[in-house]
């Protein structure tokens, strides 16, 4: 009975949504406004210009959300992850990882650099680096900086710190938050993106690694009461 009620409500809701989407006004959206101001943005790719210049707030808050999610996962885990304990260590996976990880790091660097003028940028590059970190972890390797806690924390925070530091510096210099002077915009965006690439890579890898160390195991049976 209940599933039929939910199903018919969903179908009605979907119909309303389709009607709403169909009656959206067309037009150019914000394309023309973005194109008019491309020269001031310091980059030549419009998506990068929107992400890091025109809508820089969004991206600053986004890296903040990533960090907060990682803090949440950290506070839920019970122990520090031990890569040797969860290693799948299949010879084929190990060989593939040895082959792929250097290429992935190179690919991350390329994607980060190409974001200024072509599709790419810090988030794509960070995703590739994060995947490389997961591959390393699955083979029992530590992330770089694992042995020194402060170094890992620096990698995790550097994107947000650079972003906020440059934003705050601009406020101190009399601009509004994240309002870059047009002649400096290009270099400031490169600095921010470099920090973001590193941080996003490490945060994504750490999200995976910390989730895999939450110790679901024999203790499930100990704590079960019902």
């Amino acid at each position: 009975m209940m599933r039929w009620v939910i199903g018919s409500v969903m179908i009605a809701f979907g119909g309303i949504l389709v009607w709403g989407v169909m009656s959206l006004p067309g037009g150019d959206g914000l394309t023309v406004k973005v194109e008019e101001r491309m020269e001031m943005s310091g980059v030549t790719h419009p998506v990068t210009a929107v992400l890091l210049n025109f809508r820089g707030y969004d991206t600053l808050l986004e890296i903040g959300v990533l960090l907060l999610a990682l803090f949440g996962v950290y506070s839920l885990r019970r122990s520090r992850p031990d890569p040797t304990g969860v290693s799948v260590s299949h010879p084929f996976l190990l060989a593939l990882t040895r082959l792929l990880v250097p290429v992935m790091i190179l690919m991350g660097g390329y994607l980060f650099w190409s974001g200024a003028y072509a599709p790419g940028g810090a988030f794509q590059a960070g995703a590739v680096l994060g995947a490389a970190g997961v591959l390393l972890y699955l083979n029992g390797f530590d992330l770089p900086g694992r042995k020194k806690e402060w170094l890992l924390r620096l990698y995790l925070a550097i994107g947000f710190v650079f972003f906020l530091g440059i934003g705050g510096g601009l406020v101190a210099a009399g601009n509004r938050l994240l309002e870059y002077p047009p002649d400096l915009a290009g270099s400031l965006i490169i600095i921010i993106e470099a920090g973001l690439t590193l941080s996003i890579g490490f945060i994504l890898a750490e999200l995976y690694i910390s989730n895999s160390s939450l110790e679901i195991g024999p203790d499930v049976f100990v704590t079960e009461k019902g």
């Binding site: 949504l17 989407v21 169909m22 067309g26 986004e62 959300v65 999610a69 996962v73 939450l214």
Partner: protein, 106 residues
Amino acid sequence: MNVMYLYAVVAVLLFVIGLHGVIAYSHLLRKIVALNIMGSGTFLLLVSIAYGRPEGGPDPVPHAMVLTGIVVAVSATAFGLALVRRLYSETGKPYLPNGDTEKSGR
């Protein structure tokens, strides 16, 4: 009919399928997967709106929103999975306390 509307309708379909999953199932892993399907529908809608421009390149603002959204969705999923795993290791059940009596919780 414009191709944009085909993508937009598929996007709405994905969103509704995901919403149904969030409401109808009590297993929390299913809810997280369903939330991700809802998110994919939203992203597809934004991309199809950006594509709906008569000439020239697509609108960059929705594209930037999708990039932001994907990263937020990934981090929210990771946090949700951590919560579910901790709940499972505390209670032995991947359901919310009042959800484990429902029959639909497959």
